[in-house]
Amino acid sequence: MTRTATNLAPETNCGLTVDPIDVDAALRRAYRADCGAVASFLGVARRTSSSHPGRSVTRLEYEAYAPMAVRELETIAQEAIARYGAAHVAAVHRIGVLELGEAAVVVVVATPHRAEAFDACRYVIEQLKLRVPIWKKEVFDDGSEWVDPRP
């Protein structure tokens, strides 16, 4: 969708999906006539495991406390709007079974200029990893392990 008005109210696009994430649609929704910058981040299901080096991941399984997860995503999006002047924030996470190479999460941020877009995009993904109640299980040929990303 092409937007022509200026000074539109900030908008958010936060949620969970069991279907593959439509990254192109998430990007298109972020385009705004008042924003010269759109930054995005994709988290992708990866073969290597940080906590189990040497073992090959065959797939990932995500689960969420869905209503709280959506609420936390929305809160983080509103924080990005307040802190960085973002005009559009999308944060969509996939749950269920993911094959390697599939997108697990997409973050898209639109701001008037690029510096704030990069900063806001990073803020959203880092806060998502800290706060949003989503769990990830790495499945290997010979078993599976819940991921605990704490240092």
């Binding site: 988290g43 406390y65 996470h93 800290l130 989503i134 819940w146």
Partner: protein
């Protein structure tokens, strides 16, 4: 103080240890979260080893030490989150 039912939700490794996504328990309310944890570990001893890593949410808000659960609240046991 009265006895009432509260719903407990379990996720990720907590769900697997308990063997269920949710249950309704009868406890005297209000109950502080330390006492609730003791109650849950009595029911499910396998939660003991992950208790220190888990957070707890009351009605979809992260709880802090000293917070209390009231009648009708929904409590979630949240192991370390790993989105992204």
């Amino acid at each position: 103080m009265s006895t009432s039912a509260i719903r407990i939700l379990y996720f990720g490794p907590a769900r697997e240890r308990v063997g269920s996504e949710s249950e309704v328990i009868d406890v005297a309310t209000p109950i502080d979260i330390d006492s609730l944890w003791s109650h849950l570990i009595d029911r499910h001893p396998s939660l003991q080893t992950i208790r220190s890593s888990c957070r707890l949410a009351i009605d979809m808000q992260y709880a802090e030490t000293g917070d209390c659960v009231n009648t009708g609240s929904e409590v979630a046991i949240l192991p370390p989150v790993a989105g992204g």
